[in-house]
Symmetry: C2
């Protein structure tokens, strides 16, 4: 894999910056994909040579056409294949023979059409591997590079976008056309624009690593319908963030389960649980976007303005209402309205009219002209309590809109604080907005829309500053022993491990299991109870009995040896009466923990992201309120502690009602060990610890019950 | 009040349809408010006569100017006053003398500037009352009526909107200009457009009642910064809904508390708690909007399309991704993707290509032209399982955008199901969108944005069908007795009523209070306990003791007369030991209810909406999860039951874990009685019943503890 990743990175450079391109399977028919792609490449004025390849034409668009790729006399960097899917394999084979290492396969008719297409896709993958070719596609719109050093438009998009520092990658070709149109209307340019389709060879991960080092790209946008390799995606986004400080924004469809099934029916993708996706993205510093508008709203904040230092913003407006609406949304997004220092307030008192509101949000009043905006903006820019600036304008009859826009651009140019704007309305403010866009001041139609992008840039800035997660790897675990138990059970066809076996496994990974033993005689019960220490709980052990309480198979509060012996006999006889046919393994005796709080730990294996560890408080907290937190493994100490603290009911753990704090560290340790177990033993499909009984700080926690479901 | 309301309704007709208008205080200076208003009225070609009034000019805009209003020789219907605020009182007085009954006061400088302005506002209100004048304003942008029968533009807005069936009312003038611009860009027209400013005389309530009967208006939009009379607003919206089936959409700023304080600083308004506002709006069938875009997204759905019968929608798209994103949002908004009947599926199999996805969402594939959209649309329109239709288009090179738009308009015209659209992109789809707008097909830039408007129309349709809330008025209550207790306490300076007094009050309103008695001797304790029945709880009664448990002043599980007598003595001696200085009233004895579930009821008085009743489960449910529901009083049976069922933890009441249902009816009864008490006794500022102990179905509930806070 590593080898092909390096290969892709090298070959992607050729895909984006080819000096010669063969358009394989193009034709003369305008309005068809093969014809339009040729026109697009030609019209974009590629910095390089184009070779049309068509078995039946002598020339296309006045360019000499070649029958086969191998007929081209000169070396070719990139092949853009637009042949029907049935002959793509032969075309790619010829690319190999010709020594071409980079290809874009536009053609549809592969995996997305079912069994037959999947076969074809496997074929071209094999050919690519054989010849060390890297390709984008199949089933895609193509690739655009606006860099003047290349000016490649190997796509059938309707338009060639402006140059910019935003890269856009999309699994859906249809969305690309809408995105290009949307961006053009807002004067948003792109560095690279890639529709990667079925990603049979080059994936979004490869593209992320390429763009990490692409000097023209500052922000990376990605539209995904399926996540095939969540951990790699997380690692790539984190690498990009840490090494190049570029944010990765992802729009992932399939948020709800019905949405997910729609995704399945149209791309054959398996959507993972959406909450897990949210959590995984946050862990990796990825910013998740809800829709195209949301994505570009956030993208321009990253692309055009510096990252903010803190959540403290100032709002400047010439109308009270929008100021209030924006304040509402700012608070909802976790931002704060800065309190100005006295110096600033003094300045405002001198420079703004008495009717103006000089506290935050600053209302410069409806008749404000550029001078008043200038005074307000420079005032807050010089105030150390302010780290970001939202400027709102409503078009009144005296508002000098364009002058204000110029003023904003000037102030932004001189300031290191991010400045966002919202000129409300449409036609009246259009010229002003154009000026803002020209100067790369983020503009939002709705003033409230300034808040989420600010929150996103703040989140990203905090993530960059955090040191990379380097989870503890415990070496006091016995991986081999666990593997042995797991294999034995799987071989004998058992996939459900109940309490006893499951405890053995987690104990091997250092989780604190309550002292216990299985006993098969009255006498043994007495001595085992004695060795455990009182009080103990005694329960019937039988694979045939699921509800132990119902057969009077559980006794609590056993306090001495004599009681333990009598209880053994009583339990056995109770069960023999209620379920004479049950095969009894014995009576299980365990230490009874008193005054503990019950929490739940769990492991789930997400199809996209792998093992996920879940934490919650026991009982109704999980059942009724779904009050749980989770993280994708591996989990470091800080994340484990955050998991515990971020549930709503965490108050119950942290000294609620005058009680002492519970032993958070011991829960965190259990979470990290579970995370390691889940990663090292992929046969564990699900694991529940319910309950984990937690004592006061310093006194640890104990697994009271657990079960594991295995998978082959 | 009633009299003035009727007056306003009559005078509003003259405000919107005047045959003669005096512009009082206008001048010749373009670019000023007094000058621009004159130009606006003149240019809009009012269906009537205009009279400029200015003490210093002979003519304005070639029209003869009058020195004073009273100098105008003919009768005048409407005065538009643009004089400085200092002379508005004299102008209005002259209106009265001249017999003018309707006025619009544009001028600022009233309540919004503080004490002095407030005085001026009171003055003009008094003058209006004296002369039976109704006026809009002061401090507003003015009034627009697009009806060709009037064509009034008595505003300083930059543009005169197109005719339409949406009315817009706004407390903020600045927002109006942005709204006009926004609407124009989307070809949205208005029936009436009113900036009502400080609403010193005519309020949004009066405008709602006027628009209820306005034939040109189908949908009413309202932007509010403060709600002064919540109950009247709710009643007006409900009346409009029930009598004219017109929805009221309100954008109310100040959602968060910081937002609210910004509102306070700029309009002097008192913002009520936001959750209460949400609940009150829902109760009244009001649709709350988050921002301008949200408001118009919903407005055009109401204005242009029929109301949907059910939540079952069909999505038609030519691109998978947007279909998935829309499905996600639809589910989130409570909609459902319809399952097509076999007949429909059969049709699709015949008319759509095999690569198309013929289940919902229907993917007609990127190369779809109008014929395929037509087949899909007519198919779902004929399917009884579908009640609404979302059509998505992404511009591919072969997409015949305008033809598809025409096709949609044709199908919508013939169908009684609401059809919404989203043509993604900008420039490429602009001509198509124009066609849709011309035919009144709601269009949304983002496909996801179709979902919330659909949910809103569905909600409204359900509200219309519900019978109006006619809350039970219990006549077994003793209003007089409660008033006496309340007055006595207030007169003696007591505003906090603890358990004993508070119980007396709620018992008088028929709430089931646990049997109890205050005892002052061992013997009495024995006999009272005897009469109550065992087990009983015994507690010390003393105003000096807040934490009764801490002084060993509470004993549970007292099971017979002898125990009761001994316990009396023990409690008294315990307390005398711990707090010798405490003044003891006696020992309070109450029936101990076993196996009950504790719930909480409360009453809070919201500054905007009046008494609100709150319900929740006891303990951590309220403390940690804030899992409560509430309604503005009065509350009918159905609402009370819904309140109980809508909390997240309602499972705990409804037979969770194999238990029987609790007595929901008895809780509902208690809620309704509390609601009546709160309305009939306005001195009750707060009331808590904590806990109300609820037994199994049929066995009732009992108030165990309660407290009341009074206010003068």
């Amino acid at each position: 894999m590593g080898k092909r990743t390096d290969l892709h990175k090298k070959n992607l450079q050729t895909i984006f910056y080819p000096e010669s391109v063969a358009i394989v399977g193009t034709n003369k028919v305008k309005g068809t994909v093969p014809g339009d792609i040729f026109t697009n490449i030609l019209q974009a004025e590629l910095n390089g040579v184009i070779y049309p390849v068509n078995p039946r034409e002598k020339w296309i668009g006045s360019l000499k056409a070649y029958k086969y790729i191998v007929d081209i006399p000169d070396p070719v960097d990139l092949a853009v294949i637009v042949f029907p899917s049935t002959v793509c394999d032969r075309a790619l084979e010829q690319c190999g023979e010709k020594g071409i290492k980079s290809a874009i396969i536009i053609s549809a008719g592969f995996r997305e059409i079912g069994e037959k297409g999947l076969e074809r896709e496997e074929q071209i993958k094999a050919i690519a591997e054989k010849w060390d070719i890297s390709f984008i596609g199949p089933n895609c719109l193509g690739v655009i590079n606006t860099d003047p050093a290349s000016r490649l438009n190997a796509s059938f998009a309707r338009k060639f976008p402006a140059e910019g520092n935003i890269a856009f990658l999309s699994q859906s070709g249809a969305l690309c056309t809408a995105v290009l149109d949307y961006a053009q209307a807002r004067n948003i340019g792109f560095s690279k624009f890639v529709s990667f389709g079925n990603k049979a060879d080059i994936s979004e991960i490869d593209l992320l690593y390429y763009l990490m080092d692409d000097e023209k790209t500052k922000v990376i946008l990605l539209y995904l319908e399926e996540i095939t390799d969540g951990p790699s995606l997380m690692r790539a986004a984190r690498d990009v963030m840490e090494k190049s400080h570029k944010p990765v924004l992802i729009m992932k469809s399939g948020r709800t389960s019905a949405g997910a099934s729609a995704a399945a029916s149209h791309t054959g993708s398996l959507a993972g649980s959406d909450e897990i996706c949210d959590a995984a993205f946050r862990q990796a510093g990825i910013i998740r976007c809800d829709n195209v508008e949301d994505m570009f709203n956030i993208a321009i904040a990253f692309a055009y303005q510096p990252l903010p230092k803190s959540e403290k913003i100032a709002i400047i407006t010439n109308a009270g209402g929008p100021g209030v609406l924006t304040t509402d949304e700012a608070i909802r997004q976790g931002l704060k309205l800065a309190e100005f220092n006295e110096d600033t307030t003094g300045k405002f008192r001198r420079s703004l009219p008495t009717t103006a509101n000089i506290s935050n949000p600053i209302d410069v009043i409806g008749d404000a002209r550029a001078d008043r905006y200038h005074a307000a903006m420079t005032g807050v820019c010089q105030d150390d309590n302010v780290d970001g600036l939202f400027v709102i304008l409503t078009p009144q009859s005296m508002t000098d809109i364009e002058k204000i826009a110029e003023e904003i651009a000037k102030v932004a140019n001189e300031s290191r604080k991010p400045i966002y704007t919202s000129f409300m309305g449409e036609a009246d403010v259009a010229a002003g907005i154009k000026i803002l866009q020209k100067h790369h001041i983020p503009h939002y139609t709705l003033p409230e829309s300034m808040c989420k992008p600010y929150a996103a840039t703040l989140f990203f800035n905090q993530m960059i500053k955090q040191k990379a997660e380097r989870p503890t790897v415990f070496d006091d675990v016995e991986k081999g022993k666990v593997q042995k138990v797991v294999n034995e059970n799987l071989e004998s066809g058992k996939t459900y491990l109940s309490e006893f076996k499951a405890k053995e496994i987690i104990e091997t990974y250092g989780l604190p299991v309550i002292k216990s033993g299985l006993t098969t005689s009255e006498k043994e019960a007495g001595s085992v109870a004695e060795s455990i220490g009182y009080p103990v709980v005694m329960k019937i052990m039988s694979d045939d009995i699921v509800h132990k309480f119902d057969v009077d198979g559980v006794v609590l509060n056993v306090r001495n040896r004599e009681e333990a012996e009598k209880t053994y006999t009583r339990i056995i006889s109770n069960v023999q009466k209620s379920m004479p046919e049950a095969k009894i393994d014995g009576v299980y005796i365990a230490k009874q923990i008193e005054n503990g709080t019950e929490v739940i730990l769990g492991v789930k294996r997400d199809p996209a992201f792998g093992p996920v560890v879940m934490f919650g408080l026991g009982g109704i907290f999980v059942e009724v309120f779904k009050d749980v937190s989770f993280r994708v493994a591996p989990i470091d100490k800080e994340s484990a502690v955050n998991m515990i603290k971020e549930i709503k009911s965490s108050k119950m753990l942290l000294g609620a009602r005058g009680r002492k704090n519970l032993d958070i560290d011991s829960i965190a340790d259990a979470i990290m060990r579970l995370s390691q177990l889940a990663l090292e033993c992929p046969q564990i499909a699900e694991l529940d610890i319910n309950p984990l009984i937690v004592l006061e700080d310093g006194q640890g926690c104990f697994v009271a019950d657990t079960r594991i479901i295995l998978t082959n």
